[in-house]
């Protein structure tokens, strides 16, 4: 009989606490950022497709579903490292091996050679090229992600990927790299 009471008492306690916990779980739930969004924010959003997915978000989804984290050349090692931290996996060298620290580039259209075919405009994933049919096109430097996707469609090959020019604002104190001249 005692055993029975004990069972009832423990059972009801378990039930009550269970209910409280359940209620708390629903009521005070912390909305956490879904993993895909977190991955997406780490990716550089160049939308270049070099990972094999059509854009950064699809790749983020793929990573969330277990794809490799080292397929993002524009992000470089830094992105791989962050992804590794987030996903709790080992950081790997970039797939393809080249360019651990990619040089940032932007597209530049040699405007006198442009024939106005609009092909690059269609290729640009972030609409950073403006122009109209048979009119010269130009790249919005600030919006260009340097993804290269416009280079290939150009029928006259007038798009160059130029390294982003260093400014005083982006200068990183490489004192040793400054050319020094004679005193006199």
């Amino acid at each position: 009989m005692t055993l029975f009471y004990a069972l009832i008492a423990l059972g009801s306690l378990a039930l009550i606490f269970g209910l409280i916990l359940g209620f708390a779980a629903v009521r005070f739930r912390v909305e956490s950022n879904p993993i895909v969004d977190q991955i997406d924010t780490i990716l550089p959003q160049t939308q270049c497709g070099q990972c094999g997915y059509p854009g950064c978000r699809p790749y983020a989804e793929a990573i969330a579903n277990g794809d490799e984290i080292n397929k993002c050349p524009p992000g470089g090692e830094a992105t791989v490292k962050k992804l590794a931290d987030l996903m709790g996996v080992e950081a790997k060298p970039l797939a393809g091996g080249e360019q651990a620290d990619p040089v940032k580039t932007v597209a530049y259209i040699r405007e006198d050679e442009c024939i106005g075919c609009t092909k690059c405009i269609q290729a640009c994933p972030v609409d950073a090229i403006v122009g109209a049919t048979r009119q010269m096109h130009t790249v919005l430097i600030d919006e260009c992600t340097g993804c290269d996707l416009c280079v290939e469609p150009c029928p006259v090959d007038c798009i160059d990927m130029l390294p982003v020019k260093e400014t005083k604002q982006t200068w990183k104190w490489q004192l040793n790299a400054i050319p020094v001249t004679q005193v006199d």
Binding site: D40, T41, L43, P44, Q45, T46, Q47, G49, Q50, C51, G52, Y53, P54, G55, C56, R57, P58, E113, I115, P125, V126, D127, A128, D142, E143, T145, D148, V151, E152, P153, P155, V156, D157, E166, T167, K168, Q169, T170, W171, K172, W173, L175, I178, P179, V180, T181, V183, D184
Partner: protein
């Protein structure tokens, strides 16, 4: 508040944590009055001498300017104009090394003084009290005044603050060793400074103005007290000499006991700090109408003979300052702009003085020893004891070294004012400040990238949405129209696709083709936005490679053209040679029979061969339904060109229409020309073989040396070398597309050579070339990497084209000779080829 003001009036000074006491080294530069220098030979006036945007240039090269004339006009966004420091001629406007630690070039106006020093028309304000707030701010703005203490913040922005200012703090601390510019200015122009203060008071109406001066400047304190006697609201406060009490936030803490919250500006807590030099400039601008064109600069250091302060015109090269004061450099001389604690070394003395240049320090190695080697941090935390911001410099250092940017933010790296106190006291001589700067730059870059990524994402998504919308609209339109294309047709396509797919399953080499077809179809129907991933990646890699190759090749072409620009023939010949080289490479893969088949020595033989080829081709066509092909290797000169063009066009079309698999109709394309048809058959045969051989492609090629022309030979050699290299580098699939490219180029090159010869019009030729290139490109792309066959075809095109070409130069000569020569060449190529194979 009242209590605070009372405390301040009673002389209470608060204290700052940390701080250091480096040797002052100020006496040597205060023995003489501020000197005037002779006019320099040239002035390099940088357009940007402050924080904010450049002004808009309003002068041009070759223009004569007067002293004080504006060179730029403000154009929003904190832009501040610069003025001509003296009258003279603008000899140039170009980027020059700037007065910045990086010395990155900055657009500068270079003025050659005429020696007259003629002022432009000045508009001094006689009664400043009569000016409205905005008018006064405008005068300050137009005079180009920016903070002269070091940061160069536009003064008009500060003066125009909408926040209530309780304390106007005048920074006369000048805590850095060596610098005495403000000290001397106060001694000599205290009245002017006080007048400037009163103008700021008029603008800001603070409750109290406190002038903070370190107790190592008794003369300046006396002069300022004297000048400020008449104004009760100005207090001269003496603060103990400790570095860096002259930092804006540190001074506020010292004089009022308040702290500026992190991330805020002093105006947020009702404070405004101005440097004495700035206030003097304000006075000059308002009461004398003179814009900011000169400033006091301390020229000091043991390598300077006449250490002291000078009035330097903005834009005066540092070299001029040093020369005027007598400079005898030591080995590994450092020339520092600014003080020894926060100044930066200059890579060249050909940099102009800017509004923020308060000191030029040229020390020898006794007074300021060269930095020693960095040793291990022993966590002695002498740095933390010295830090005026109460940071933990050694922790920051660990995190900066390991690039833990989150930790750096957590430890408030951005509250570091880079005063250098930590590095000064560090027994291990760790360049702490340098680590922080690099880390700050990295973090800023990351943040900028983050913002950019955010925007890119938005734009990408907006675009995706737009595309989807458009597509939907299109589909709606289609729906409204009766479905023109019958179900049957669709079914056909679907069947084809299915066929292709089934095929792609069993053969690797064809999967690419299948994919291309599928993709093309997808594109046409505008259906899916998301292609098959692996394909995208593969294709992309191929395209990139191709693009690079193409560029390379183009570069080489240009190079060749550079060598013999006028000799178009040789250029064309080179192109042909290249084509041949390519072809030879192709030939390597082919078996010999194809070669013999494809080399019709004369018309009759060709016809026979063609018949055989046709038979073969037909068989081949039956075997592989989806093989794309087209075209012709016409033997006949003129017709050949036409036919080639048609064939090319068809090849393109065929590639585009690949999924339709209508190769049969292509066969009948060269309707009017039988020979062309024959040739086409031959070509097809070749194509087939090549396609079969494509899998075990190995390269190594030589080619036929053009017979008649030495230049051509040279060009060919170059081309060959290149072709070889390219071939080696290329992956198989790239190869084929590359080949296509090239051969198309050659094909196109022929008409080009015709045109100039007939019309002599270079422009036309250029246009034609561009079109040709475009076509080639397009064709290459559309055929994708898959079509080994079409590559073959194009090769045969080359041959066709090449022949007429080689005939052309010697048009008077016998066609037969050419044919023979070609045959010989081919034979040679083959031999070389075989040798190459043997070797490999």
């Amino acid at each position: 508040m009242e209590k605070l003001i009372d405390q301040i009036k009673q002389g209470k000074v608060w204290s700052i944590p940390g701080g250091i006491h480096p040797p002052g080294q100020k006496l040597q530069s205060t023995t003489q009055a501020i000197a005037r220098l002779p006019l320099p030979d040239k002035l390099v006036v940088s357009l940007k001498q402050h924080i904010g945007a450049n002004g808009k240039l309003i002068v041009e090269k070759g223009q004569q300017v007067l002293k004080g004339q504006a060179l730029t006009k403000p154009s929003g966004n904190w832009s501040v104009p610069v003025h001509a420091p003296t009258s003279g001629l603008i000899s140039d406007i170009c980027p020059m090394p700037s007065a910045h630690p990086s010395a990155l070039p900055e657009l500068s106006v270079i003025i050659e003084p005429d020696g007259e020093d003629n002022w432009c028309e000045l508009n001094p304000v006689t009664d400043a009290k009569a000016l409205s707030h905005d008018e006064l701010v405008d005068v300050i703005h137009q005079s180009g005044i920016a903070g002269m203490g070091g940061a160069g913040f536009p003064t008009y922005v500060k003066a125009d603050t909408r926040k209530a200012i309780e304390f106007l703090i005048v920074n006369a601390v000048e805590c850095e060793p060596y610098i005495t510019a403000d000290d001397m200015l106060m001694r000599e122009h205290a009245d002017g400074i006080i007048a400037g203060i009163e103008l700021m008071q008029q603008l800001l109406s603070p409750q109290l103005t406190i002038i903070g001066i370190e107790d190592n400047k008794p003369d300046a304190i006396a002069a300022m007290e004297q000048a400020a006697q008449h104004n009760d609201s100005i207090i001269v406060q003496t603060v103990p000499t400790v570095y860096p009490s002259g930092g804006e936030k540190q001074l506020i803490k010292l004089l009022t006991g308040k702290e500026v919250p992190s991330g805020s500006i002093p105006a947020d807590i009702g404070m405004l700090v101005q440097n004495v030099g700035t206030l003097f400039a304000v006075n000059q601008a308002v009461h004398e109408g003179k814009p900011l064109i000169e400033r006091v600069v301390t020229v000091t250091g043991n390598t300077i003979h006449k250490q002291g302060n000078v009035w330097a015109l903005l834009g005066t090269e540092i070299k001029h300052l040093l020369d005027c004061q007598g400079f005898s450099p030591v080995p590994q001389q450092r020339v520092v702009m600014g003080g020894p604690m926060m100044g930066f070394t200059l890579p060249t003395v050909r940099i102009g003085v800017v509004k923020t240049t308060n000191c030029i320090l040229a020390p020898d190695h006794q007074e300021l020893a060269e930095p020693g080697d960095e040793k291990a941090c022993i966590r002695c935390s002498a740095c933390a004891d010295a830090c005026p911001a109460s940071l933990l410099p050694q922790q920051l250092q660990w995190f900066a070294k390991s690039k833990e940017y989150d930790k750096l933010n957590e430890h408030n790296l951005f509250d570091c004012i880079e005063c250098g106190a930590c590095a000064y006291v560090c027994p291990s001589e760790i360049p702490l400040v340098q680590y922080y700067r690099v880390a700050k730059a990295e973090i800023k870059e990351q943040q900028a990238e983050q913002i950019k990524a955010e925007r890119a994402k938005e734009r990408f998504e907006a675009r995706k949405e737009r595309l989807e919308r458009e597509q939907e609209e299109r589909q709606n339109r289609h729906k409204r129209k009766p479905a023109a294309k019958s179900d049957g047709e669709k079914q056909k396509v679907a069947d084809a696709l299915a066929r292709v797919k089934s095929k792609s399953d069993d053969k690797d080499s064809k999967s690419a083709v299948a994919a291309a077809i599928a993709r093309a179809k997808a594109k046409k129907q505008g259906a899916e936005l998301e292609p098959d991933n692996s394909e995208v990646a593969k294709e992309r890699a191929a395209r990139k490679e191709q693009a690079r190759k193409y560029k390379e090749q183009k570069a080489l072409e240009q190079g060749e053209e550079g060598v013999d620009k006028d000799d178009k023939k040789s250029a064309v010949a080179a192109a042909i040679a290249r084509a041949k080289a390519k072809k030879a490479a192709q030939a390597a893969e082919e078996n010999t029979s194809a070669e013999t088949d494809a080399a019709p020595k004369d018309d009759k033989k060709a016809a026979v061969a063609a018949a055989i080829a046709r038979a073969k081709a037909k068989k081949a066509a039956q075997a592989t339904e989806h093989q794309t092909e087209a075209d012709s290797a016409p033997v006949d000169d003129k017709k050949a060109a036409v036919a080639a063009a048609i064939a090319r066009a068809k090849a393109k079309k065929a590639a585009q229409a690949a999924e339709n698999q209508t190769e049969a109709e292509e066969d009948s394309a060269p309707v009017d020309d039988k020979k062309a048809a024959v040739a086409a058959a031959i070509a097809r045969a070749k194509a087939k073989k090549a396609a079969q051989a494509a899998e075990n492609q190995t390269e190594a090629e030589e080619d036929s040396a053009p017979v008649d022309d030495k230049k051509v030979a040279v060009a060919a050699a170059i081309a060959r070398a290149k072709a070889k290299k390219a071939a080696k580098e290329q992956a198989q699939s790239d190869d084929s597309s590359q080949q296509i490219n090239d051969s198309n180029d050659e094909a196109d090159a022929k008409p080009q050579s015709d045109v100039p010869e007939s019309s002599e019009d270079k422009k036309k030729a250029a246009v034609a070339a561009a079109i040709a290139r475009a076509k080639a490109k397009k064709a290459a792309k559309e055929q994708a990497q898959s079509d080994d066959s079409s590559q073959q075809i194009n090769d045969s095109n080359d041959e066709a084209d090449a022949k007429p070409q080689s005939d052309k130069p010697e048009s008077s000569e016998d066609k037969k000779k050419a044919a023979v020569a070609r045959a010989i060449a081919r034979a040679k190529a083959k031999k070389l080829q075989q040798e190459g194979n043997d070797k490999s």
